[in-house]
Symmetry: C2
Subunit: 327 residues, 2 copies
Amino acid sequence: MEQKIILGHGSGGRLTQELVRDLFCKHLGEVGPSSLDDGAVLDFPEGKLVYTTDSYVVSPLEFPGGDIGTLCVAGTVNDLAVMGAKPLWLSLGVILEAGLPFRTLEKIVQSIARTAQKAGVQIVCGDTKVVEHGKGDGIYINTSGIGVLTKPLAEDSIEPGDKILISGTIGDHGMTLLTMRKGFEVDADLKSDCAPLNHLIEKVTSAIEVKWMRDPTRGGVATALNELTDGNGWGILLQEADLPFSEPVRGLEELLGLDPLYSANEGKVLMVVSAADAKQALELLGGEAAVIGEVTAEHAGKLVLNTTMNTLRTLGVLTSDPLPRIC
Amino acid sequence: MEQKIILGHGSGGRLTQELVRDLFCKHLGEVGPSSLDDGAVLDFPEGKLVYTTDSYVVSPLEFPGGDIGTLCVAGTVNDLAVMGAKPLWLSLGVILEAGLPFRTLEKIVQSIARTAQKAGVQIVCGDTKVVEHGKGDGIYINTSGIGVLTKPLAEDSIEPGDKILISGTIGDHGMTLLTMRKGFEVDADLKSDCAPLNHLIEKVTSAIEVKWMRDPTRGGVATALNELTDGNGWGILLQEADLPFSEPVRGLEELLGLDPLYSANEGKVLMVVSAADAKQALELLGGEAAVIGEVTAEHAGKLVLNTTMNTLRTLGVLTSDPLPRIC
């Protein structure tokens, strides 16, 4: 008979201990906690500490390119990396819905282990709660993360002429989830870009000065760049012709009239670098990385798109979400 | 019209920004984050770092003595404090169910602010997600916490003759929730003990050597002491006659036949200290603190209760939970 999560797994007693030991710790192995204690004692390297938290409520739990386990490690690792930190440790808090099959949980924990290994981070502490069937949606995960600041960003030095780069195609994660949720047939080539970016980012930041970085998740590239321009004396002009999209995303954009600039990415980084550094940054990022625009003395505080029709369009912040629970 | 949480509050766009700024940051004030960035950059004091995480799914959200906001700060602060750490920073990840009244959320955030102030900790980073109505239960909260290790415990030095202390009455939080959930009339004097313990613990640890501490939450005093004795060459003998209970808890115990030793506490600490230090520890803890037993050469690896009838009863770990979602 298929084993399922029951409320007793959240009791804090024997069933919780067994679940943590025989499922979480077993699969996390080397990237997992060294004891079942409530917390971890860690030797902190010198320097400034960077601390972040994110809850993951993505629906469905599994999607082409990853699952909530991949996402909860990559997302928090990326939040640390774009702040100029080397990610070290993650916490893992799970809220399970009674009735969740063990097999599903096991696959998710395996994804967590694999992604943590890839990123080179340790899951050092965790917590398990169980809510009644109908009071959750399979599993919600919170990961907080600690890193050490290695490359402080120089946002204050941003000036007209600086280049805006993205590390690859735009909108893949959001468009994948949209396609699944709306019940469209999923293009075989369409998948989430969900991945930890810390090694790629380190390659760039160890060679050149990155003035600003962000992983454009919820709200997409347009929302992230709006947060950057907001209140500043300069603006950003994007070139529509230079935006990299995968073929399936471009197809969906035309079919549905949805703008992938507002679609979530889970394995892409936006960067601002000086014009002089742009070429080297592009080479270091590799793949489908592109210069997509630049900082301008005009359009102060605004994000503006120069369309392929050569018209200017101001892009605002995402107001509400066409697709909730994307991450 | 009553304002309610809608899915757009979880979009990562303008509505999320407004919610964070106008509700979370407004009420958190001085104990809140200094920016709306995804993470916080913090100066780490020298020494070892202690890191913990806990999710809170308590039902109902409000109860005599506190609410999920009080609980999510006190619980994580206490997890750090019992590891011998001075709690410094918390993260705050909330999963809101669409339809949650703003007023409810506001009261919870006010409790978070008040409790953080009392404990002297800062909420330095946060995250807000929203799930559809029917996919949550009002609000789930994850707080992770970082502290600096100030008083490492000396668990290895525990030996027969050492005393077991508790800082006050046993089982109040669990019994309060039980009474509410089962629809019994709540005794006016019965309330949760939910409170941060870090200042009280510091008072004791700065004066004497505490060999082991634990806040006996889920699973109660019996489960926490079982985890301590497990695998050791000594045991623990508790004296039933010395266990401090509030009047309403004692009444419920007799009425319902439930054992408050397995009932959750959210503002109590268990300590092991040497016989020589017990008197001073008791004075420092004050109030209704009590010596409830001692470490024995007999009963190796076990927790045993000497009942008021002068019979011995072995107390095991809580296997399943008579009352889920206590914290």
